[in-house]
């Protein structure tokens, strides 16, 4: 996949502008993102990368930071 972390963060910023996706590693643990935000992120990632994130992947470890989210997307694309 040729999406850089910067581009990926931009994508996330478009969903929720005032979240520090660059540095925050506790997006879920500290309730920075609520379930509505998570839903928006999943919809956007599904559309943007043409993937279908399985329910079992929707866990805090994968959503706590931009890096973790990008890792998950990369892994799902590799598995295809």
């Amino acid at each position: 996949m040729d999406t850089t972390l910067e581009e990926f963060i931009e994508l996330l910023q478009d969903i929720k502008e005032d979240v520090d996706f660059e540095n925050c590693t506790t997006l879920i643990d500290d309730h920075v993102l609520d379930s509505f935000d998570i839903l928006s992120i999943i919809s956007t990632l599904n559309d943007e990368f043409d993937i279908s994130i399985p329910a079992a992947e929707i866990v805090p470890e994968n959503f706590n930071s931009a890096v973790a989210l990008l890792d998950m997307v990369t892994r799902l694309l590799d598995e295809e």
Binding site: K16, E17, D18, S35, F36, L39, I42, S52, P54, A55
Partner: protein, 501 residues
């Protein structure tokens, strides 16, 4: 019947040991729920008088439900406060409500103390109230004096001027609607209702009172399960849920998050949804995995007690089709009023959706002006008093006589299940120092709130302030600083020009 507690009392007589309500860790039978509500009611009876408000600051649990019913035993009406709101919002709600008591539970005791600091209120622990002795004489006296048009609950929604609006609903309206709701969809004693809606949302009124009226069981799904689909699906399967009365956005969680790919709750027989227009694409995922369930589209604002129309789906809908709102429930009248308040009867012609009947709420708490504007005389009836509620929603009739939702008349939107007045967000932003003019738009397709403002304050500072002033679902997804508001030739803010920025 003139009090909703009669449902609880007859159920506690008829099936005392049957499960009434369960949450993640605790469960109450009908007898236990009645006993706990009576204990709480007895403890409150000296403090709360007839028609007084009681605020409950807690997340939904079985004990919180007992506290709501305990409030009713004491003769008061309850208002559950969303715990995710900022302090200024909670203060505004308390000011409007002026409750005789504020209740909380052990989990929220610290947060409640912080929220109440400086308000003069002190939260009473529900656990302590529940341990009180029952004062049967006091409860009987309260009941004897109560009438069915007394308020039962007050739910707060966004208001266009920046002050939350408290919608007040009476016992009578709930006693009228719930038996119709249960019989229309065959909700009975063998049903297991999986409650999704928070108790400050009127969607939960259908869960709670259907459970009491039909002697069904209700399982409260913790809010956080709606960000972890595996937990949610496990809960639905393990509790053997049969009935879902959910917000559209909650149903979309399951389908978008691939919940069915993990586990299918095959016990589900009835799926009813409301709150927003259901995207057919998401509904088809549900229909694919649970093909034998009955799906019902429900429509109606809080002001008319949950819902006024319903449509039982008879087929799958294509992406570009709109699922009808359907036909009115028994004992509710729905009409369309066009230009000059004339009755619209021609299919395809658009009018404002207006409702009359026992379902009408008591209005907005402490706000006669807004109540008078929304609850008016039916302009087509010149002969007697027939109040209607003007929903502000535009609708039309299709060829089959079904009502079909078209759009809003004003700037109220539905964002992720929440009713939001864009003016409410604008009022909050305009009130911040260094902000001169604001305009908030909603991009419905991408589900994004966009705020435009003119002023000297930086974007990040404004965002920070808005987090203090507004609940998180009302904080704009994007904020843009502009030099001047584009205006139409009439001098109004040109929303179309802003939308294309």
């Amino acid at each position: 019947m003139r009090n909703v507690l009669e449902w609880l009392e007859t159920a506690a007589q008829a099936c005392p040991d049957k499960l009434a309500v369960a949450d993640e860790s605790s469960r109450l039978t009908f007898a236990a729920l009645e006993a706990e509500a009576r204990a709480i009611g007895s403890a409150l009876a000296g403090r709360v008088h007839a028609q007084d408000a009681v605020a409950i600051y807690a997340e939904k649990t079985a004990d919180v439900l007992a506290a709501m019913l305990g409030t009713v035993y004491a003769g008061g009406f309850y208002s559950v406060i969303d715990t995710r709101q900022p302090k200024v919002r909670v203060e505004a709600i308390l000011a409007a409500l002026s409750p005789a008591a504020v209740l909380t539970d052990a989990v929220h005791a610290d947060a409640a103390a912080e929220m109440l600091e400086g308000t003069g209120y002190e939260a009473l622990p529900i656990e302590d109230l529940a341990a009180s002795a029952v004062n049967a004489a006091a409860l009987d006296a309260v009941r004897a004096a109560a009438i069915d048009t007394d308020p039962l609950y007050c739910n707060f929604t966004s208001g266009s001027t920046g002050t939350p609006k408290g919608v007040l609903v009476s016992h009578r309206s709930v006693i009228d609607f719930i038996p119709v709701f249960c019989s229309t969809f065959g909700i009975g004693a063998d049903d297991v209702i999986a409650n999704q809606a928070p108790f400050d949302f009127d969607v939960s009124v259908k869960d709670i009172y259907s459970m009491l009226c039909a002697r069904a069981s209700m399982h409260i799904i913790p809010r956080e399960y709606f960000s972890t689909p595996t937990k949610l699906m496990d809960f639905l399967c393990d509790r053997e849920a049969t009935t879902l009365i959910w917000a559209v956005s909650a149903m979309c969680f399951v389908s978008i998050m691939n919940g069915f790919g993990y586990r299918v709750p095959t016990s589900i027989r009835k799926v009813m949804f409301s709150g927003e227009v259901m995207p057919p694409k998401q509904l088809r995922i549900w229909q694919k995995w649970l093909p034998d369930a009955t799906y019902v589209n429900l429509y109606g604002p809080t002001e008319i007690t949950c819902n006024c129309t319903y449509h039982v789906l008879d087929r799958a809908y294509a992406n570009d089709e709109v699922i009808p709102m359907g036909k009115p429930f028994a004992n509710e009248r729905v009409i369309l009023l066009g230009e000059d308040d004339a009755l619209v009867t021609e299919p395809g012609e658009v009018g404002e959706i207006c409702v009359s009947g026992t379902a009408l709420g008591l209005g907005y708490l402490g706000d006669a002006e807004r109540t008078a504007a929304a609850f008016t005389q039916n302009p087509t009836n010149k002969r007697w008093s027939e109040p209607i509620y003007r929903t502000g929603d535009l609708g039309k009739l299709d060829e089959q006589g079904n009502f079909v939702y078209v759009s809003r008349k004003d700037h109220q939107i539905k964002h992720m299940g929440h009713r939001i007045e864009l003016g409410d967000i604008e009022a909050a932003a305009t009130g911040v120092d260094g902000v001169e003019r604001t305009c908030c738009l909603y991009d419905a397709k991408r589900k994004r709130l966009r705020l435009f403002y003119v002023g000297s304050l930086g974007k990040a500072e404004l965002a920070e302030q808005l987090h203090v002033l507004l609940p998180s679902f009302m904080v704009p997804n994007a904020i843009k600083q502009i030099d001047a508001m584009p205006l139409t030739k009439n001098g109004k803010i040109d929303r179309n020009a802003l939308a294309s920025l």
